[in-house]
């Protein structure tokens, strides 16, 4: 048994009391038109990150709200020290409105607009100047101890195989239980990949309202496939999942659900929403890896555990993503992408519990600065779950 429960985590305390395990300056483009300019700034200023996307204009209603919430969530994530919000000027998702929300966290926030600055080059200069100061201020901040109860971990599986439900997912489930028992929060997501396992989670809901919400989000997701007039199996499980031995969405879901451990389900939150409760929380996201990862990062997760049987490079610009292999073959074959091997469970060399201890040790190490493979390879993936058309 490792002594990780006794270990204190080290992180950066934010003005609103939250704690980050990274100290990024985020160049946040609120509109696709400003993503290239944001990219240029990150090339000039060390310590800054950004993300490329296609959104932020000609969106309405709930779809507008969800994109807005995702931007604000990314900037609010405690792994972010400060934010340069970069807009074009005429877009629907106004940089200023995003910045107003971000300022509520108390962290440094500045707005730069391409149209106000008179073009790309002066905007790059203006944004870079602000970023230089933010990065230097961030580098002067000292880490301090924090408790597991202040930690939010996201859990995810992608590129699943038949081992996912036998090795890595049950091990992540044990980690989820341990984090919850230490007072922390674990986010379960990917609603699509819980279709067929929803009854097991509804039984664990803390009250009838949460149980009812479980069936609501599952039915809404399943209805989307039914309305499209297709077998959901044409998209999920994916061809890789099927090659790995998964025959149906239900089979994939039952394996995926083991990531949720065994603790009570406290609440069901919307995409990119911050959990209001500690313990096990379900965020309503699609199964698509990057969209769900982005939702959990915007929901405030400081670390994400990502199991994979087929292997995946995925990461986030602001959240360390620890990739856990479900089988030793893929761990060795994609060693530059995978952080932890849970395939030892399949080989009978380790138990689910001992692997969960190793994952917990890796979380502690990551909090203290050890870099995940995805961070080293600059896997700055980002994708918003769009729920409406572009006009």
């Amino acid at each position: 048994m490792s002594n990780n429960k006794k270990q204190k985590l080290m992180g950066y305390r934010r003005p609103n009391g939250e704690v980050g395990i990274r100290n990024h300056v985020l160049i946040l483009p609120t509109i696709t038109c400003s993503t290239q300019t944001a990219q240029r700034i990150t090339e000039l200023v060390d310590g800054t990150v950004t993300f490329i996307h296609q959104h932020g204009c000609a969106q309405v209603g709930e779809d507008y709200d969800q994109t807005f919430r995702t931007y604000v969530g990314m900037g609010s994530n405690p792994n972010v020290y400060g934010v340069v919000v970069l807009g074009l000027g005429c877009e629907t998702h106004q940089a200023r409105s995003v910045a107003e929300e971000l300022k509520k966290t108390g962290k440094p926030v500045e707005v730069v607009s391409i149209q106000d600055n008179g073009g790309t080059l002066s905007t790059i200069a203006e944004g870079a100047k602000i970023a230089v100061k933010m990065v230097q201020d961030a580098s002067a901040q000292q880490k301090e101890p924090f408790d597991f109860s202040e930690l939010i971990i996201g859990t995810e599986c992608g590129g699943s195989d038949a081992c996912s439900g036998l090795s890595a997912n049950p091990a992540v489930g044990r980690v989820s239980d341990k984090i919850v028992d230490l007072g922390g929060t674990a986010i379960l997501a990917e609603t699509t990949e819980l279709i067929g396992a929803e009854h097991l989670l509804a039984e664990r809901a803390v009250n009838d309202q949460v149980s009812k919400r479980v069936y609501e989000v599952i039915n809404a997701m399943e209805d989307r496939a039914i309305k499209a007039g297709v077998d959901i199996r044409t998209g999920n499980p994916s061809p890789g999942n099927i090659k790995g031995g998964l025959s149906s969405l239900e089979e994939k879901s039952l394996g995926a659900a083991t990531k949720a451990g065994t603790r009570p389900l406290q609440e069901l939150i919307n995409y990119a929403e911050k959990p209001s409760k500690k313990g096990l929380v379900w965020m309503d996201t699609p199964g698509q890896d990057i969209e769900q990862l982005t939702g959990m990062a915007a929901g405030g997760a400081q670390v994400i555990l990502f199991t994979s049987g087929r292997g995946t490079p995925t990461g986030s610009p602001i959240v360390p993503v620890l990739k856990i292999a479900t089988n030793t073959g893929i761990y060795e074959k994609m060693s530059e992408n995978m952080d932890i091997n849970a395939g030892t469970i399949i080989e009978g060399k380790e138990t689910v519990d001992s692997v969960s201890d190793r994952i917990l040790d890796e979380i502690v190490a990551t909090c203290s600065g050890k870099k995940s493979k995805a961070e080293i390879l600059k896997q700055h993936d980002f994708g918003i779950w769009r729920i409406g058309p572009t006009f």
């Binding site: 279709i195 297709v230 149906s248 239900e250």
Partner: protein
Amino acid sequence: MTNKNYKTVMMNSKDKVAVALTKIEKGTTVEVNCENQLFAVTLMDELEFGHKFAVLPIKRGEDILKYGEVIGVANRDISPGEHVHIHNLDGKRGRGDKLVKQQETKINGV
């Protein structure tokens, strides 16, 4: 005597399928142990790592269980030792294609 150069797992005593945890040749007789029940099954197909095979006979239309939970339905009779996958197992959830077929049937008056 069975050759033990393979690994299998059967998750729950309600299940009728088990998972190959190594590649297993066609014709191999494998022992499957689940909650103190021992089964001997001769494989009718080659099995890739991670793929399922029937341990007990499954009738057409019968739910197929793994982890003691429903993972789909058999679209034909399946014999012990047969590979169980998308060719003989239909998912039951998210089946918009079935709705389309029903509508077509109604329109064509079949």
